[in-house]
Assembly symmetry: none
Homo-oligomer: 223 residues x 4
DNA sequence: CATGAATGAGATTTCATTCAT
DNA sequence: GATGAATGAAATCTCATTCAT
């Protein structure tokens, strides 16, 4: 996510920097970026449009010009965040790995990837508080078009064929469990660590948990 | 939780109306109840004090009288919700079960229990959005005093002794994984089902997931 | 209308004048009064809530407290204006007049009454621009409960019985024509006088028109 | 009016799209047309320039280019509407009619003509709310140059000469009464029908009212 | 002439909290 | 303790108009 933004910024660097004027794409992107951080930090009702505007290179008025209203902006932020996340998922390389190794890699990669995507996770938390009312309805959002699902389907099929995985599971179920274990680690850190301490969140704790996630998923799947 | 409220409500119904005026405890409880639902539904900033007051059998003034301000009320709601949840956890009976069976039972009971505790889960989601800033600091909240942890410690110790569990795990880690799998099932239903459909949430889907949770935890622990 | 306000004001005079505090009725009435003038002057969209508030003895906030929103205030102003106008109509005394005289008196009284009720007429003009979307739906607003209609029914019945009026007319039709002639005199003064001059609006012109109104209505009705 | 627009629209359809760019008159006319409907519908302050622009085949910029500002556009719409209406009035043929018949015909024609000119009537209503501040000052607008007045003068003179009309009336007065009765029928339909029902507005009711208008005017004038 | 982007000033509405009785 | 009235500060959103290309 951070990387994406930076590359965006460097592209812009070609043009004269100081002048955002008449650069609708730049303005939109800039607003979206600021708004993403803001909404992730304070939620929909907790975020002030004024605050977003202040951190922007434009004015509050432009937010309304491009996004209609606060909710429209929030919706765009959410849709955009999902889009970016999907792209990040595509980065995973599984070429030449045996099914077991590939599955563990997916699980542990997801665990790490969630840790890196705190802003996104927070947006998802917030959207779930809103019961998904602002979720984009585009086809590209659908599960079938998820590369994560496609990867898992592929791995699982290969494992079945090789006789190393047990039958009767689905890719969505696997994705579900991997997501649950990886998501909670980010989403509930605050309350969990408040009650049970910070040990699980230092590097050692996290690498234990990561390994467990791989173990559990493999344990579920192995014949 | 729902049951508790309903019995609460019917208790109130018995008493003559006027008695509220002499029943500060009843007033407090009534406010807390209404506020719990409200905060769970809309979050801290999304909830209106006016709305809470309207659903209450008292007035807005009393909210400030008893809880100081909106945040104070929210804190009390949160603390109270944790207290209630701990009580529910104590209901679990494990007498006479072998360690493997007991562990599976804890895992699957937790899964079901989370499903029944949507209001509580939503409060936890919301509080995590707030990064745990309103968590109660009392000793009774600490992990050591958690009966869930004590149970797991006991089961794990028995399993080790019996030679059926592998060494090197901790009760908190087990609790972590069980919680992750059970929590996500409630917290992320909205976004997940939006993308991947509702199948995992019908009765059949849920019983599959529940069994998987038991499987995974046992798979992690078995020697 | 003016009279009503003043009497209201003098009632208030009993109480300590300077302190509007905790006088919800006074506040409401005060807002309504100011808003009536404002809306009559500039219409619904042309009126600024700030401007109303400024002329009020309270604050903008109170307008929202009592009336919800701008449209709510406008609706109340309109309903209240109709109520006041109905009351004014009741003042007409027709005791002991022959049907012809009574009918002329109603017509000419209405003509004069409309001239005195410019604020009300303007509100009706404005509401007709809005196609009546804000009209109150109360039963007391219905035509059957209009004392104007009842008077005309009574006069017309007496005239028929006396053989001086022709059959086949209805009170609503008579009311319609009387209203048309009296209303236009106020509503269209601006454009009409711009085109045709002011002569019809000086005292002489008005008394000619008034007499004509009586003449026309009687001409329509006489056998 | 409706017909005029439609023919306008179909004319435009013939020409290739690009030709607008070379057709400043067409642009002006198009804007005026759209603005007329918009202002008639929502009034001066209730109409959005953006909305007009959107319905136009040009852009907002052109509105400012041709009309200066919103008020300028409104003024032009109003002046144009009066011009069009005058033209429609000229269509009336009275050749060879006796004064009484001619007068009734003028009255009833006006009644019908107003019904057909709702957009114009609404503009007049709105302009009267603005107290005629935007009325055009051209000489052609003056009463002397009104064909309606000239007709009435002619008819009245003929009636006097023939000894069938009583003396002491003026054409402007007659125009006034005819207008009042015809205008109110359109302008106040919304509020009146809300209170007294729709009966007077169906075809039967309208033909009764139309005849009454003729009756009343003749009743006023006949010797 | 034409177009989409941009904008400042201001309008409506909201909300937690306190006051008067 | 209890209640409805009151409030200031700030939030969201709107609109006519101008600018850059």
């Amino acid at each position: 996510m951070e990387k994406a933004q930076r590359s965006q910024a460097s592209e812009d660097a070609d043009r004269p920097r100081r002048s955002w004027k008449q650069d609708p794409d730049g303005v939109r992107t800039n607003i979206l970026q600021v708004a993403r951080e803001a909404f992730a930090l304070r939620g929909l009702s907790g975020t002030r449009i004024d605050e977003i505007a202040a951190r922007t290179s434009t004015s509050k008025r432009m937010i309304y010009y491009y996004f209609g209203d606060k909710e429209g902006l929030y919706r765009e932020v959410l849709a955009d965040a999902y889009r970016r996340t999907r792209e990040a998922e595509d980065a995973l390389e599984l070429e030449g790995l045996a099914p077991e190794e590939a599955l563990r890699k997916v699980a542990e990669f997801t665990f790490d990837n969630h840790r890196r995507s705190q802003v996104f996770i927070r947006l998802v938390m917030i959207e779930n508080v809103h019961e998904g009312r602002h979720m984009p309805d585009s086809a590209e959002m659908s599960g079938e078009n998820s590369s994560a699902i496609r990867m898992l389907e592929d791995i699982y099929a290969r494992g079945l064929e090789a006789g190393v995985f047990r039958a009767g599971l689905s890719a969505v179920e696997l994705h579900w469990h991997i997501s649950a274990l990886s998501y909670f680690n980010v989403s509930n850190r605050a309350t969990f660590s408040h009650i049970f301490g910070e040990q699980l969140f230092d590097e050692k704790g996290q690498s234990i948990l990561r390994r467990h996630v791989g173990d559990m998923i493999l344990g579920l799947v192995l014949a």
